[in-house]
Symmetry: C2
Subunit: 181 residues, 2 copies
């Protein structure tokens, strides 16, 4: 039943930031390359549900609209908002949500951030795989992907991909010592 | 003249920690493997000077002694201590020290931490190459390799090495847009 996975797909600088101060993502442009999507569209094809934090959602909507056609989207928020087409604003229990999605879904669940929801999912041990793209830069300050005070989690390396732009994509899965992998 | 480099060689967890609370480095044991030194002895052979932070030095000395035979060692400290054989305790200007070492030395300069001296060197733009080994674990809390408020620094990827243990070794050099590389 539960072969469906929650996958984190996100980019960070070598020093661990997903954005510079004031949500500045301009450093991502150093790896932008026509015809190179770093596995994103292939990943999207294996997914039927997207989970985003509310701040990330608002940030994306400021710039335009969500790029997820035909996907179910859950925006995790503390404050109630009415649903909007296939976009559900969710302020309930995260563990229950993931549990139910894994039963209902046909495909995987993708989380693309932001940091707050990533750390909340990690705290509840709800992320099955991490695909982290490391951008060749030290940005020096901003919003860190990983905040303080999460439980320890052993990982198993699945693959490493190196791209011409200098981006390195690390793919890990959760590793539980007490279970057969 | 200045073909000699300052190289940082250090390991961190995927979430960016070099130690868990209380200087606990036990997570490094998950990548320990007989006969695998992750390029360390080869690197040491290209180096004639080691730079360490004072806390790291005290920590190593608690466990035994420095493993650098025949190397010049500089311990960066705020408080004067008398020199000890080839170990110099240095509390002067870091930029001057590196400048002079690059003139006097025959080989490269290696920094192995800790976090405080790494960030100080980065703030002064004194690190030429970074060799960062990523351990397949999220440790959740502890001492971060990269602290807040450093200048932005573009990097150029030199190589990526993947090891059977799941350790990934990323090798970057400083990238200056205004200079030919």
């Amino acid at each position: 039943m539960n072969d469906k996975k929650v996958i984190l797909y996100i980019a960070m600088s070598l020093d661990g930031y997903i954005a510079k101060p004031n949500d500045d993502l301009s450093f991502l442009s150093i790896v932008e390359k026509v015809g190179e999507d770093y596995g994103y569209s292939e990943l999207l094809s294996q997914v039927d549900t997207i989970i985003l934090g509310r701040k990330t959602y608002d940030w994306v909507m400021q710039l335009g609209e969500l790029p997820y056609k035909d996907k179910n989207v859950y925006i995790i928020t503390r404050t109630f908002r009415p649903n909007k087409g296939k976009i559900v604003f969710y302020s309930g229990n995260l563990t229950e949500l993931i549990h139910n999605l894994k039963i209902q879904n046909e495909k995987n669940i993708l989380c693309e951030g932001g940091a707050e929801i990533v750390n909340e999912l990690l705290r509840k041990d709800l992320i099955d795989e991490l695909i982290i793209s490391i951008i060749p830069i030290l940005v020096g300050k901003g919003i860190r992907l990983f905040d303080e005070n999460r439980p320890e989690q052993l990982l198993k390396l699945i693959s490493v991909k190196t791209f011409e732009s200098g981006l390195i994509q690390l793919h890990y899965k959760r590793f539980n010592q007490d279970k057969l992998q």
